[in-house]
Amino acid sequence: MITYIFIFLALLAIASALAMVINKNTVNSALFLVLNLVSVAGIYLLLEAQFLAVIQIIVYAGAIMVLFLFVIMLLNIDAEESLFDKFRIKYFVAFLLAIAVLSQILYSLGNFSNMLPQISSEMAEIGTVEAVGDVLFTDFLLPFEMTGILLTAAIVGALLLAQHKIKPGSNND
C-alpha cells in the first residue's frame, strides 16, 4: 500500500515538475509548482518526517508561492513562447548536459535498489517536532541564529532596494 502511495506521489511530483517547466502560462506554472511542493511534502510524510512535511506546506506552498502568484498576477505576464518552437544548438547542448547529470545521479543512486527504506522507530523519532526542536537549539544553535541574521538582512535589503524616496538625513533634499 505504502509503495503504491509512494509511486503515485512520485509520479505526481515528476509530472507536475515537468508541467511547470513546459507550461506557457506563468500562473499555471506557479500552480504546478504548488502541486509539486505538496506532493513532495507527501513523500516526506511517507518517510515519517511529519515536521518537515508540514513546514514545507506552510512555508513554500502557503507563504512563498502565494507571494509568487501575487507578483505574477499583478505583473500580468504574457504567455511565453514555447521552448520547443525552434531548434537551437544551445538547447541541444543543454539537453545533453541534462542527460549527463541525470545519468550521473542514476549511477550514483544505483546501489540503493530498495525503493522505500525500512523505517525503524528510531528513524520515525527523528522526524517529530520534539526531535527537530531539540537539535535546533543545541547542536545547530549557531546556524539557527545565523539564519535569523540572514533573514533580517534579506528583509532590510529588500526594503532598501524597494524604497523609492531619497531618505531624509542625507545632504541635498
Binding site: V54, A61, M73
Partner: protein
C-alpha cells in the same frame, strides 16, 4: 485512556454528520439572527420555522445557469471554488470532539492546522484572477494579503498556547485545559486569536474582500450557480471551523470550566455524550458571536486592516508570547 466504545463512535459519527451540515445550518441561522437583530422576521416559509430554507437555496443554485467568463481561465475558474471547501473539511481531521473522540492524531497537529489554513488562500486568489475582472482581481488580492498578514498573529497566539501544552498534538492541547482553560491563562492571546480568526474567515469587520460599495461581490463577482454556492458554503464552513478552533485552543475544548476539580468520574458513554454536547454548545456560541458581530460592527477601511494586523496585533502577539514564555520558564524552574 479508557477504551472507546461503539456508542462513542456513534456519538462521533453524529457530531461529524452535524458538522458537514453545519454550513447549511449556519446560513439559516445567519439569516434568522440578522433578521432578529434588525427587527425583522427572516425566512420562515419553507418548512417549519423556515428550517428547510437552506435546501431550497441549494436547489435554486444548482438549477441556475453556470456562467463562465469567456476571457477568463476556465480550468482555474472551475478548480478555485473547490479549494476552500476542501481545506475547510481537512481541518476537522485533527480536532478532538471529546475524550478519545477524534479522527486522527498528528504529532504536529497544530502546524497541520496552520498549513491547511495557509492553503485556503489559493481558492480566493485564483478565483479572483481567473475571472479576468478588475473587481474580482482586487478582491482576490485583498483577501490574499489579508489572510497572509493575519496568519502571523494567529500563529503567535497559537504558539503562546503551546507553551502551556508542551506538545503540538491537538489531543494534548485539549487535554491540558482540563483544569484551567487557556483563556484564563492567556487572555491576550485569546483576544488576538479571535480577531485573527475573523480576519482569516473574511468576516465583518474584515470583509474587505467583498466590500459591495467598492468591489461588487469581490472575488466571486463572476461566479454563478453552484460554483458560487461552494464559495458561499465554504464561508460558513470557515465560520464553524473558526468557532471550533477558538473553542479548542482557548475555551477548554470539550472540558467544562475547571472540570478537573469538580467533575465526578463517569462511564465512557456518558462522558462521550457530555463532551460532544459541551463542545458543540461552545462552537454554536462562537458561531453566534460571528454572526452577531457581522450585523453590529461596521467594516474597516483596508489600510486600517493592514495597520491593525502588522503594527498592533503582530507586536502585541510577539510580546505576549515572549512574556508568557518567561513566566512559564520561571514557573517550572524557580517555583
Amino acid at each position: 485512556m479508557e477504551p472507546v466504545t461503539t456508542t462513542s463512535y456513534i456519538v462521533l459519527g453524529i457530531a461529524l454528520f452535524l458538522l458537514l451540515n453545519s454550513a447549511a445550518l449556519a446560513v439559516y441561522s445567519e439569516r434568522r439572527v440578522a433578521a432578529f437583530i434588525q427587527n425583522r422576521i427572516g425566512p420562515n416559509r419553507v418548512g417549519p420555522m423556515g428550517l428547510l430554507q437552506p435546501i431550497a437555496d441549494v436547489l435554486k443554485l444548482i438549477l441556475k445557469e453556470d456562467v463562465t467568463p469567456i476571457q477568463g481561465n476556465k480550468t482555474i475558474h472551475a478548480i478555485a471554488p473547490i479549494i476552500p471547501v476542501v481545506t475547510a473539511l481537512m481541518t476537522v481531521a485533527v480536532i478532538p470532539f471529546g475524550e478519545g473522540l477524534y479522527v486522527t492524531d498528528i504529532n504536529a497537529g497544530v502546524l497541520y492546522l496552520l498549513a491547511v489554513a495557509s492553503l485556503g488562500v489559493y481558492g480566493v486568489t485564483l478565483a479572483g484572477w481567473s475571472s479576468n475582472s478588475k473587481y474580482s482581481l482586487l478582491g482576490g488580492l485583498r483577501a490574499a494579503a489579508q489572510m497572509v498578514s493575519y496568519e502571523l498573529p494567529m500563529g503567535m497566539a497559537i504558539a503562546s498556547c503551546i507553551l502551556f501544552t508542551g506538545s503540538l498534538s491537538m489531543l494534548d492541547v485539549a487535554g491540558a485545559q482540563e483544569y484551567w482553560w487557556n483563556f484564563f491563562r492567556n487572555p491576550i492571546g485569546a483576544v488576538i486569536f479571535i480577531v485573527a480568526s475573523f480576519a482569516e474567515a473574511n468576516r465583518t469587520p474584515f470583509d474587505l474582500v467583498e466590500a459591495e460599495q467598492e468591489l461588487v461581490g469581490g472575488f466571486h463577482t463572476e461566479y454563478s450557480s453552484m460554483k458560487f454556492g461552494m464559495f458561499y458554503l465554504a464561508e460558513y464552513m470557515h465560520v464553524v471551523i473558526a468557532s471550533m478552533l477558538i473553542t479548542t485552543f482557548f475555551f477548554g475544548s470539550y472540558h467544562l470550566p475547571f472540570a478537573g476539580y469538580w467533575l465526578p468520574e463517569m462511564s465512557v458513554t456518558a462522558k462521550a455524550v457530555l463532551d460532544v454536547s459541551v463542545f458543540t454548545l461552545k462552537t454554536v456560541f462562537w458561531a453566534f458571536v460571528f454572526i452577531w458581530v457581522r450585523w453590529t460592527v461596521p467594516r474597516f477601511k483596508y489600510n486600517q486592516v493592514m495597520k491593525l494586523g502588522w503594527e498592533q496585533m503582530l507586536p502585541i502577539s510577539i510580546l505576549n508570547f515572549i512574556g508568557l514564555a518567561a513566566i512559564v520558564y520561571a514557573w517550572y524552574h524557580f517555583i
